[in-house]
Symmetry: C2
Subunit: 424 residues, 2 copies
């Protein structure tokens, strides 16, 4: 019987795995350049870690099970709750601020479609302990650094930045009751996925009258922070939130990444726990869903049983980014598996071939040889299959001379050299 893989999961054959490693390496070095250290947690967590904290959408999408002791366990849908749990467990001992990153495999049961998988990878960056905008800017700068490192520029992608405090103040200013604000946020976050008339009906249900809906429509048309009108700025909390965003944009200019960033009052982020600046990276052509996003979540640690501490960060999945890189021709070729291939000039002679193989591998050079008995022609074919750059030919003289023939497979040049000269 042939077993089919689970829908929404992926097999990583060598080319796909090479791309995954290439991408992870760029995520890692962008993190490390910024002085962040890698952490990880379990993929199996107690179900209660997610129920109520990650927002209803994620909770509905959980894969969960009961173990033999009837404990309810969930596969992690994201890393942040694990991070919050880990910090809460050692909060007193960890020196602040905490600069952590993580690359997680995550699981969400959702409709499998372009850029949406049920099993995917996510790069998480979290900066814990700083309430000021410099921390948000540090995270956004790292996101830009990683985009640059995979070959994308500000002509390819754009970071759209908002602040939930600003949007919250504006929505309350339109007359929405405090306890209905999360509902309005959820509607705004989904507004590109449902028809406009449905959005209107949903907003009405959340307590926005005709005037309120028109006001919201007007605000969603703002392109720059300066577009915020005097009648809104008259509200102190709107002005304070606009000032905070202005400081953030100033810092982004100091980081030299102003051209990557723009204000977008419509950015909300789906997760329930964000409390301040929120941002998303989108492809400029607007063909794909958000590549990634993040924001500030100053209450999450206290909600998880830790001490209240300001925090911000982001998560970047591999699926949409992978599609964008493939479309742009930025997905690199995999390295061939062997740099060297060692062959016998006569029939395969393992003891002598292995002397040369051991020498090359001992020098950290990827080396293969033919594992079947066969003549030189067969061995040269195998060397070509492996993409080897060099073939080392062991002749009958080798036992006496300890000399081999080195052929460069690109130029076809051959030369004779001593075993000790190989792989230096």
């Amino acid at each position: 019987m042939k077993v089919q893989p689970v829908r929404g999961t992926r097999d990583f054959y060598p080319d796909d795995m090479a791309f995954r490693n290439w991408l992870f390496e760029r995520w890692r070095r962008a993190s490390r350049r910024a002085g962040f250290v890698e952490v990880d947690g379990p993929e199996l967590e107690p179900l209660e870690l997610y129920t109520g904290k990650s927002g209803p959408e994620i909770t509905e999408q959980l894969y969960w099970l009961e173990d033999k002791s009837r404990r309810k366990l969930a596969l992690r849908p994201e890393f942040t709750p694990t991070l919050a749990r880990m910090i809460a467990a050692r909060q007193a001992a960890l020196p602040g601020p905490i600069r952590w990153f993580n690359i997680s495999r995550c699981f969400r049961y959702e409709r499998a479609q372009k850029g949406r998988l049920r099993e995917f990878f996510q790069w998480n960056v979290d900066l814990i302990g700083i309430a000021e905008e410099i921390a948000d800017a540090e995270c956004i700068s790292m996101a830009v650094d990683a985009m640059k490192d995979v070959g994308l520029g500000p002509e390819d992608v754009q970071i759209r930045i908002n602040d939930r405090r600003l949007l919250g103040a504006l929505v309350r200013h339109l007359g929405v009751a405090e306890d209905r604000v999360p509902q309005v946020f959820a509607i705004l976050d989904k507004r590109d996925k449902v028809p406009p008339e449905t959005v209107g009906a949903m907003l009405a249900e959340a307590g926005l009258g005709t005037a309120g809906r028109q006001g919201l429509e007007r605000m969603l048309g703002w392109q720059r922070l300066d577009d915020i009108e005097a009648r809104e700025r008259a509200t102190p909390e709107v002005q304070a939130a606009a000032d905070a965003l202005q400081r953030l944009f100033g810092l982004l200019a100091d980081y030299g990444i102003a051209e990557w960033c723009r204000f977008d009052i419509g950015i909300v982020r789906g997760l329930a726990y964000y409390t301040g600046p929120v941002w998303e990276v989108h492809d400029r052509q607007g063909e794909l869903r958000a590549i990634f996003g993040g924001g500030r979540y100053d209450r999450l640690l206290a909600d998880m049983g830790g001490k209240a501490v300001p925090a911000c960060g982001f998560g970047c999945g591999d699926a949409v980014l992978g599609i964008l890189l493939a479309e742009r021709g930025l997905r690199p070729q995999a390295e061939p598996p062997a740099e060297f291939f060692v062959a016998s000039a006569t029939e395969q002679n393992f003891p002598e071939v292995l002397v040369v193989v051991r020498r090359l591998r001992g020098r950290n050079r990827p080396t293969q040889f033919d594992l079947k008995a066969g003549n030189l022609k067969r061995q040269m074919k195998k060397a070509a299959d492996a993409g080897a750059q060099f073939v080392v030919i062991v002749t009958e003289e080798f036992a006496r001379s300890r000399r081999v023939t080195l052929r460069d497979m690109r130029s076809g040049e051959q030369r004779d050299l001593a075993l000790d000269e190989l792989g230096v």
Copy 2:
């Protein structure tokens, strides 16, 4: 509420994560030196991929769930069935032999104890398409290479090698019926974990009479291949299996690793699918369970719906190896998160500090700075917390001179240099 992690899972704080990355890097480079390429598959697989193939012990230990479409899914307990599935799906297109490795997170519901976790990592190496002993030797050689690379020597660990064909022939020679052989293998595999009298009773139940049990006891006393006695060698299949093992040991000598290896008729391996040579790596002091092991599984691909093809490989978990390395003092220190720390000589001045930070990060040097307003003393304290090797001090002159002060935190030496000279 504080949520506790699931028993048998681990949180990887920075030190533990650094060790995990260090170990994975050594697994990867041992694989790549031998010309193997990395692959991976899903962690969520259809339950039926495991039922019946991995042996009853693993099937009992599966974590599994029903998704919303009532499909039964399992968390992978090992990688080999996924590998077999992936090869069966593309068998015609893949050039042989296939040299693949993988580093998997795996899940088994078993009693959490020293060296046994419910969530662990495993390095898998598989060589598909070669029936001869050179393939088994190639795998064992890679295992030795990785042991060397983590700092272990033949005085620390030993590879104990057997062949199931030899043990099977011997057990049949003692009068055990063909269909009872797997049962006897399972008893032998568990014999160190149950009292001797229980082992005797279990063997009797499997059809071994008193003479048979005494014969088995005698065979388990053999230390070398040469100890196999003439009365057993008279059976052609015993002699053929002994010859195959002899060829394998000859190749291991050609690889230069004879001193790491010895014959051990008692090695069985728990997994049901092994068909030929089997081997385990043990610590010499015998204090820990097997560090890792592998063998030949020539029937697995056909059982998975593929074409029959010879195959061998091994899996190495991170838990027991991690304990051994810690006991031997071979667990490395983590690198500090920052190489450079950029400070303002006066109150924190982000725009100027960021000029220097961008320069250093742009040169791929891990760089932090103080994210809070504060004086130089506070900033120097943060630099020490980060373990920074160098502090770059930005003075009031910087705006004009573009020069900074570089302090080496180890020697205490300071020198003045131009921004352009930093991080080269």
